[in-house]
């Protein structure tokens, strides 16, 4: 059974009156691997509440489909600059991604290395905590240091601290055009070196990824036409030392970056699905240690989505490397354990916000 509150009051009532743990979801595209319980979905808390293109801000109810948000933004030549990663295809989940789900999972795509993560764009939240209290934090302005930043705490909390009812966020103009500079390389280490070299320039790179199946590291620049042409040419010179280089125009670039957003490289592959976040120069070492059956690197090597043999212990392989691994398909716990002192704080925060252990219980520890 799934409960679909249609107002914040109903959401609060549903949580307050719940006698069993709740499995929280938005559109159900980002599998929440938690214990069983009654399902609670925000999908019917839907609609854009306020959109001020001149202020680069939007307010929407949490269950608003991401597609609706993106359509409204596109009409004003604006966008969600953090390029939310979409998990539906790779997880084989039907349903529509919601804006609440995007922020609750801090789903950030290729532009994270330049523009920031989902959490950096979230300006305000309204949520219902595990005791049924309606809480607001942040607001709809870009600069706000009034009180503690629970907005970032809620971003990426996967529903374990509260169920968001409304989010407000910063948007950015869509670039006039883009170009992709692709360099042919044969391994992750060379790809990382090429991506690093491109980011260590003044040319404002907005994406740096490597798909071993295509044998190319790709680097993106965006902006006004003359500027994009200038920077693409400059980066071609920077990247020539790593392999054969080609420049792809706006039309040829688009499928590369939407493909990364959808994790196309891993759709149709099998095995466990992992997301590994490390410092960019450690990415190639992670690949060497884990030997995944398929993978794609983003964030200049700092983000690796990979398939491994079922049951392979990715976390042990990361020993000595700072970072963490999230298991989206597999038997391992979904989230990486933290150091004891840090875990104690997180667990205590969860107990404060969800005193009766109702919300996605056990998901994050």
């Amino acid at each position: 059974m799934t409960i679909f509150p249609t107002t914040e009051a109903e959401l609060s009532e549903a949580i307050t009156s719940a006698t069993t743990p709740l499995v929280i979801s938005g559109g159900g595209t980002r599998r929440v691997r938690t214990a069983d319980g009654a399902h609670l979905s925000t999908a019917r808390l839907s609609g854009i509440v306020d959109y001020e293109p001149g202020a680069l801000t939007m307010v929407a109810k949490a269950g608003t489909p991401l597609a609706d948000i993106q359509a409204a933004l596109a009409a004003e030549h604006q966008q969600l600059a953090f390029e939310p990663s979409l998990m539906g295809s790779v997880l084989g989940q039907d349903g529509q991604s919601t804006i609440g789900g995007v922020f609750a999972t801090n789903a950030s795509g290729s532009r994270r290395i330049q523009a920031g993560a989902a959490r950096d764009f979230l300006l305000g939240v309204r949520f219902v905590d595990g005791a049924g209290n309606v809480v607001k934090n942040g607001g709809r302005v870009m600069k706000n240091v009034t009180g503690y930043d629970l907005v970032k705490l809620l971003a990426g909390s996967w529903g374990t601290l509260g169920v968001m009812s409304e989010v407000s966020f910063k948007v950015l103009p869509l670039a006039e055009t883009m170009a992709t500079i692709a360099v042919h390389v044969s391994d992750a280490a060379t790809a990382t070196a090429a991506m690093t070299a491109s980011l260590n320039t003044p040319f404002d790179v907005t994406g740096a990824a490597y798909d071993p199946a295509s044998g190319r590291a790709v680097v993106r620049v965006e902006g006004f036409e003359k500027s994009v042409a200038y920077r693409a040419a400059a980066l071609r010179d920077v990247l020539a030392q790593f392999g054969a280089v080609e420049i792809l125009d706006n039309a040829a670039s688009a499928p590369i970056w939407t493909g990364l957003q959808n994790l196309d490289a891993l759709v149709g592959t099998t095995g466990d699905l992992w997301r590994v976040s490390v410092k960019p120069t450690d990415g190639a070492e992670v690949i060497a240690r884990v030997c995944p059956t398929a993978y794609v690197m983003d964030w200049s090597g700092g983000l690796i989505w990979m398939r491994t043999a079922a049951g392979q212990d990715v976390r042990t392989a990361l020993t000595g490397i700072d970072g963490h691994a999230t298991c989206h398909i597999g038997r391992a716990p979904q989230f990486h354990p933290n150091a004891a002192g840090v875990e104690m704080l997180m667990s205590a925060i969860r107990s404060k916000f969800d005193p009766h252990a109702k919300l996605n219980q056990g998901l994050m520890g």
């Binding site: 959490r119 607001k136 600069k143 930043d149 990426g156 963490h324 002192g341």
Partner: protein, 479 residues
């Protein structure tokens, strides 16, 4: 502003406290000579001052932990301090507290260009972080006006912004990891060189927590390669309203300048008298800066000027070299100093939705006449972060109180139109008792629950951020 009554019991434990601190730390790290502690009686909100029990200035994280364990043991409140530049009273002590300053911890620990990060001790000043990497072509983006003096520790505590955060974000968007010492003396590493920390976003809530959750002694910061160049254009308008609309139109057109600064007539006049930057005599002016190669700068400035021209500007002054750029920035950068020449002033920093700019400026003008105090406005227009400067005479009885009352009315107005009390300075003691206007009790309770987790006895910077009445029962536990 009221401060809690200091506890006589705590004050009575001073000699025990000092002898235990001296046993644990090098002699020069523990100060209680009243002459030497004078400098720590206040921060940049200098209307308020109070001598602390003592001042501790450790060299290492372990010494910070040792000092905190002793204070925790003796139930002594600790007020963390970076460089003491807070405009909100963030490091104002009470008579029963000690100041714990990180000023002696200012080393660069690691510079990693391949991963574009720098790890520093947090006593390091903001500008000297950039100083450590700029010869290699990099910079640290957040640039609060006090960047020559302010410490990274304080930037993290207040989640500081600056003129260029329209493009590069505030401290929180550029902070990747911290080493945090809790009130119990535990040392925790959160985040690091990877682009997202595991688990709940503790980093996000620590940044901007005003020194109430722990003392950050080391930070991993994002550094960025410098653009090829940057140039500003100055545009004058004959009304605030038109200038505000122009800002909105530029943003809608898809141009994203690195900075859009706004000055109104009172501020322009004061600045001209003081710095003689040659600004036009007009109601409002914008300084808009863009970055890139010469060709890219030209492309963006052309678009901006074309938009501005549809609003009948009274002046468009485009910098073509760095000398002209410096002249355009001269007035803006000396605005606070110029206002200070006229009188004492109080600087507010509420944020409003950009669309409310004309209305809020008009209301501030009306209130200025009602209160009989002059106001100049200079602020970051691109993100709606206002900085009204209220002029008053500190030597005249009742003027400070009148000024504070006026300031509170402006901040309430910011909240009413959908904004907030503070965009980058922090709450401190200054806006503490206005928090009720922005937050309902449940909202404050959720925030205070976080402090309960990190510092359950409320010993770290306890009389800040939350209205005294709201935090009273928590602060009074040990007394």
């Amino acid at each position: 502003m009221e401060m809690p009554i200091p506890s006589d019991d705590r004050i009575a434990r001073k000699s025990e406290l000092m002898s235990r601190l001296r046993a644990a730390l090098p002699a020069e790290c523990v100060i209680d000579d009243p002459m030497e502690t004078r400098a720590y009686e206040c921060d940049a909100l200098s209307a308020y001052r109070c001598p602390p029990l003592g001042v501790v200035l450790p060299y290492t994280t372990e010494q910070v932990a040792a000092a905190l364990r002793i204070c925790n043991d003796l139930d002594i409140p600790v007020v963390p301090r970076g460089a003491g530049t807070s405009l909100a009273g963030g490091s104002l002590p009470t008579a029963d507290s000690i100041i714990l300053g990180v000023a002696r911890m200012n080393d660069v620990l690691d510079t990693d260009y391949a991963n574009r990060i720098i790890r520093v001790q947090t006593g390091r000043t903001n500008l000297s972080v950039t100083g450590a990497v700029e010869t290699d072509g990099f910079f640290y983006a957040p640039d609060p006006s006090s960047q020559l003096a302010c410490a990274i520790a304080g930037n993290i505590a207040m989640n500081s912004g600056g003129a260029h955060c329209l493009k590069y974000g505030v401290t929180s968007n550029n902070l990747m990891g911290v080493r945090l010492v809790t009130m119990q003396g535990d040392i925790l590493d959160i985040g690091g060189a990877h682009l997202d920390a595991a688990g709940l976003d503790l980093l996000g809530v620590i940044c901007g927590s005003e020194g109430q959750l722990g003392i950050v002694t080391e930070a991993t910061l994002r550094i960025i390669h410098k653009p090829e160049g940057a140039l500003p254009v100055l545009i004058g308008f004959d009304s605030n309203e038109v200038a505000g609309t122009c800002v909105s139109d530029i943003i809608r057109a898809g141009v994203l300048p690195v900075a859009i600064e706004f000055m109104d007539r009172p501020c322009i006049r004061a600045t001209e008298d003081f710095a003689k930057a040659g600004y036009p005599d007009c109601e409002a002016l914008l300084i808009i800066e863009v970055e890139g190669s010469p060709l890219e700068i030209e492309e963006q400035l052309e678009k901006i000027i074309a938009i501005a021209k549809t609003h009948k500007p009274v002046e468009v002054r485009r910098a073509t070299d760095t000398a002209e750029a410096a002249r355009i920035w001269l007035g803006r950068k000396s605005a606070f100093g110029a206002m200070g020449q006229i009188n004492d002033y109080m600087c507010l920093d509420g944020t409003i939705p950009v669309s409310q700019l004309p209305y809020v400026l008009r209301r501030i003008g009306e209130m200025s006449r009602e209160f009989g105090l002059d106001v100049g406005n200079v602020f970051h227009a691109g993100d709606g972060n206002m900085h009204p400067l209220i002029l008053y005479n500190a030597n005249e009885d009742g003027q400070l109180e009148l000024c504070e009352k006026f300031g509170a009315e402006i901040l309430k107005l910011c909240v009413e139109v959908g904004g907030c009390l503070t965009g980058e300075h922090g709450v401190g003691i200054e806006k503490r008792d206005l928090m009720d206007h922005q937050f309902a009790p449940a909202d404050l309770e959720a925030q205070m629950a976080i402090k309960d987790v990190f510092d359950h006895r409320w010993l770290l910077n306890p009389a800040k951020v939350f209205p005294l009445a709201a935090s009273a029962s928590r602060r009074d536990q040990g007394v």
